[in-house]
Symmetry: D2
Subunit: 92 residues, 4 copies
């Protein structure tokens, strides 16, 4: 899919960071870290997965629906811009 | 932390499944899979992370707060049981 | 905003249902209903608010960005269709 | 349910605030306010419903499971305290 080729590098970097967080979680379990700390690590993985979701959705809108930066129709460009802003607020 | 020692094996198995899902996601990006499929893979990672969170919270309640199966106080046992049920419903 | 005028009636009906659920919640508190039941009522309000959010976002995409049913560009129509499908799955 | 009697007043005040937010949302739809503003109002209702959920769960833990402030067992008190903290972080 065209847009994911262009955006692949930052997305793979994001995924590698999530893998690093999951390895930290595995180590915390192995080291018998306190339960509250383990829960906070899991909450941070969840936040990172939500961030990845938002980024892929935003890329999808820009590359497969309407790119607010280049669309010739100003109303449609504004509609796409608003949609991206709401997704960022709502999915965080 | 005592409870995570006892529950470590199933939690590590859950984490390995999440790592497998993330590898599938990396391969999907490398193979330039369609964006909608990539988004569905990310949604499934998120579901699995929520499942892990719920399981660790439930283990925490059973082992560090009140275990409904063994607590001598029936009201408190029922309160803990209800809490676990609500977490399962709400965090899924 | 144009699209919300057209879609106003079903959205107001949805909001009235949420208001009804909140009144049921108030009555449950007044009647000193069990805590677990109150939590389930709150969870159902949350589900209904998520449903409203998804519907307004979907209407926004159709009316201010790209309507998959009428857009002359088939790739863009498909991109918008996929986006709506992912939002429905992800925000539920 | 005992704890909801004691905590009823602040919970009803919270619910009234949510009702006020929903009335603002209805007025925004009637006034044909911009879609992005309507979405932000819905997001704020959702945040308030999550806040209500967290408060009722926290009250439930304190009154029906373990109250960290008064429980004679320090380990159990700490377990309940950690659980409340995680819920506040995770459900916000």
């Amino acid at each position: 899919m065209a847009h994911l080729i262009r955006e692949k590098k930052p997305l793979l970097a994001r995924i590698r960071r999530i893998q690093g967080q999951i390895e930290a979680l595995t180590r915390a379990l192995d080291a018998e870290t306190g339960c509250a700390d383990v829960l906070m690590l899991i909450a941070s993985v969840r936040g990172a997965v939500n961030g990845l979701m938002t980024e892929v959705m935003e890329d999808h809108i820009r590359h497969h629906v309407v790119d607010p930066a280049t669309d010739p129709d100003p109303e449609r460009a504004r509609g796409a811009e608003e949609l991206i802003e709401v997704l960022r607020t709502y999915l965080k």
